[in-house]
């Protein structure tokens, strides 16, 4: 059999051109895909969305200058059953999902410093850590090992994923020691306390609202997202979709970047070739600077942009005096679990769901935060909340 190669080539070419035509004009938008602004049901919970947006305006309870001890609308639970006579001998165990990104690295350093402070004060004893390197199975066996050893007087868990880790967390609860879960959640409320900042919806809404407020109607906005399918990131996008849907902004599309600077710069450059981009919405700040450089290299004005409280972005923001906002996924939450552990060992009440404040960095606060963090590396997070810990600043500077 001999198919003329011209036919094959023609068919391949035709297929490409046809697929081009079919993807070119979805719901009648003339320009780009005009990103779909209806959030996917799987990732959007109207009730939770409303709750998080409302929580942003609620005054949290707790000491004013220690946000890591503040809680929004806490429901206090009794922990006297776990009160320890000798907290300085109590072992705190921590099963960490991973330290696989700068945000987690920064947080973990803060946690270690907090542990040191508490140990010196005799409020906790030994601190044991296992790191699962983002592997669910590894974390399940890590938790099992903590339970089997019987050494732990408190178990802190930062789950790697929600559904898979739920039974492991339940196992830890059944062993009778107090369990503290933070960052990502699990589908059980057996833990004594679940610590987390307000959440992804509030984060995505902060940045989307800023763009809506600072751009003229009809302005073209590009959305840059890291990955699909990660709940905290999907919630940010779902919130932004909801807010953009009610606005007059033209969302020209969204792209997945894996937070890789080279990809971000390439994607932004390509969008710039085909028309102005007035605003850039990002679900996290990784690579924001590379995206802004694409504007520089194309000789265009900087867009209105939302990044994150990552220092590389905040420094660029200050240098170039951008119109920008840095939404925050509060990094200081890494202090709270160890503090909660010491509270439980003292038999003090802790909030059942410990919702920490999550306040975006605005221009008013930017310079002050950069001053505090002046010696920190560029992938450090401004709201890390460790300024008053004994190791500051060397522990974070020399990582």
């Amino acid at each position: 059999m001999h198919v003329p190669r011209v036919l094959l080539a023609g068919a391949a070419g035709l297929a490409l051109v046809l697929s081009a035509c079919t993807t070119d004009a979805p719901d009648g938008s003339a320009d780009g895909n005009g990103a779909d602004l209806t959030p996917e049901e799987e990732w959007f919970d109207q009730e939770e969305f409303d709750r998080q947006l409302a929580q942003r305006d609620i005054e949290p309870e707790g000491p004013e200058d220690e946000p890591w001890l503040q809680a929004i609308e806490p429901e206090w639970v009794d922990t006297s059953e776990w009160e320890s006579d000798a907290p300085e001998d109590a072992t705190v165990c921590f099963s960490n999902a991973s330290v696989s990104n700068p945000w987690r690295v920064t947080g973990f350093i803060t946690m270690e410093q907090q542990v040191e402070e508490l140990q010196e004060a005799g409020e906790i004893g030994d601190f044991q850590v296992s790191d699962a390197a983002d592997d669910d199975n590894q974390q399940i066996s890590d938790i099992q090992a903590f339970v089997d050893s019987g050494d732990c007087d408190t178990i802190i868990i930062s789950p790697s994923t929600t559904a898979t880790m739920t039974p492991a967390v339940e196992t830890a609860c059944e062993s009778g020691v107090p369990v503290i879960v933070f960052d990502r959640g699990v589908n059980t409320d057996c833990a004594v306390t679940f610590i987390h900042p307000i959440g992804g919806y509030a984060n995505g809404a902060d940045s989307a609202e800023f763009l809506v407020d600072n751009l003229e109607p009809g302005s073209r906005v590009l959305a840059l997202r890291i990955l699909p399918g990660v709940d905290s990131l999907e919630h940010r996008w779902a919130a932004a979709q909801t807010i953009f849907d009610d606005s007059e902004l033209d969302i020209i599309g969204y792209e997945f970047t894996e937070g890789d600077g080279a990809q971000i710069k390439d994607l932004v450059s390509q969008h710039l070739q085909r028309g102005a981009v007035d605003g850039v919405w990002m679900d996290a700040g990784d690579g924001a600077v590379a995206g802004l450089e694409a504007f520089e290299d194309a000789g265009q004005d900087y867009p209105v942009v939302s990044g994150e409280d990552e220092l590389s972005f905040m420094r660029k923001w200050q240098e170039e005096d951008l119109t920008a906002i840095a939404p925050v996924y509060s990094n200081f939450q890494w202090r709270t679990p160890v503090l909660a552990a010491s509270m439980i060992l003292r038999g003090e009440e802790v909030p059942q769901e410990w919702v920490l404040p999550q306040e975006p960095v605005t221009e008013d606060e930017r310079d002050e935060l950069l001053e505090v963090n002046s010696g920190m590396p560029s992938l450090h997070y401004a709201r890390f909340g460790g300024q008053d810990l004994p190791g500051f600043p060397e522990a974070w500077e020399d990582r």
């Binding site: 094959l8 780009g32 895909n33 700068p102 350093i109 792209e255 890789d260 600077g261 710069k265 560029s378």
Partner: protein, 353 residues
């Protein structure tokens, strides 16, 4: 019945207007043209100077990595360590330079030296210790990845200097029509030309022979281990230069370099270079890199949902390679195939006579 009687026109290599496309280069050149054509329908301004130059700047590091990978693949081996190597180089450079212009050249020198050492290590472990290269370089990939993670604690520190970023970001200004001629394009073009020259030199012919049949090559006097080790060293060198360009292009992020080894291998395979060695040209590998980068660009231009992009990319790659092997780009040359022909031609017929 016999296949060699079908007519004289199939007996020898085709000589026609398309003959320059033979040897693996044809399919990938065709793919590149088709992809460019579709891009042009989506974005007619793509072929005006500046957008094309920005495409070239983006594609340059991949071209370098593909050339480096070509040397290794054509010698019958793999180099999986290049992605990690690029990541390590950029992160190490940022930490050592830390914004200090005076450190730029020494650090660039150090990067090249480091790339050569890693290549030498890969080569010697593969050839002298006889560890399969896929394992050697997988090991190197993990070693570098882990070492960088350990050294930086997972978060790169420091900053690259402006002059370090120049090769990847800057260019010669004021070129007519093009606007700015990126240094990255010049570097990639020089590297590709040097690679073509090298493949025509005695070393290149030895490399090809080793990839085709290392036993035969050894019998004819080629020092196989030296030739292969040199291929790994070249790959390390190319990765170092690519690291300078990538770091220059986009600065330091924690993810820099991730997955580049597979992109580079894909580019080479797309160029019709035979995995297992011994077949394929540098030009085809370069065209493969350009086609792959053009595909990425096309996906963006089409606003193809980002989630489906890897699937489409995979389909196109399989289709292109299948098409290339159908039309014979990847088959043995005619003169080699004919040798096995006669004995199998009429075995039954002759015995009955």
């Amino acid at each position: 019945m016999s296949t060699d009687r079908t007519g004289p026109k199939h007996a020898g290599p085709r000589r026609g207007p398309w003959s320059f496309l033979s040897g693996g280069t044809g399919t990938v050149a065709l793919l590149l043209v088709v992809v460019f054509a579709v891009i042009a329908t989506q974005n007619p301004s793509f072929f005006e100077g500046p957008p094309l130059m920005s495409f070239a700047r983006m594609a340059a590091p991949l071209v370098l990595l593909a050339v480096g990978q070509y040397f290794v693949i054509v010698s019958g081996e793999f180099d999986l360590s290049v992605g990690s190597l690029v990541g390590a180089q950029v992160v190490v450079a940022a930490r050592l330079i830390d914004g200090d212009e005076a450190m730029t050249l020494p650090v660039m020198g150090l990067m090249v030296a480091f790339g050569l050492v890693v290549g030498l290590f890969n080569g010697l472990v593969t050839t002298v210790l006889k560890v399969p290269s896929i394992i050697t370089t997988l090991g190197t990939m993990l070693i570098l990845f882990g070492a960088v993670r350990y050294w930086t604690g997972g978060a790169p520190t420091g900053a690259l200097s402006e002059s370090f970023r120049l090769p990847g970001r800057g260019g010669i200004e004021g070129v007519p029509y093009l606007g700015q001629l990126p240094y990255a394009l010049i570097i990639a073009a020089v590297a590709a030309a040097a690679a073509v020259w090298l493949m025509r030199s005695p070393y290149g012919r030895c490399l090809m022979a080793v990839g085709d049949n290392d036993v035969a090559a050894a019998f004819s006097g080629v020092r196989v281990w030296r030739v292969r080790t040199a291929a790994f060293v070249l790959s390390g060198l190319m990765a170092s230069v690519a690291a300078v360009l990538i770091g220059g292009f986009s600065g330091v992020t924690a993810q820099v370099g991730e997955g580049l080894e597979f992109t580079a291998i894909t580019a080479v395979v797309l160029g019709g270079v035979l995995l297992g060695g011994g077949r394929g040209t540098v030009v085809a590998a370069v065209l493969g890199a350009l086609s792959l980068e053009a595909l990425f660009t096309l996906f963006t231009q089409l606003y193809l949902p980002a989630t489906i992009q890897p699937t489409v990319q995979g389909l196109i790659i399989i289709a292109a390679v299948a098409y290339a092997s159908r039309r014979g780009d990847l088959r043995l040359p005619e003169r080699l195939r004919r040798r096995t022909g006669p004995p199998t031609e009429r075995p039954l017929g002759t015995s009955r006579r």
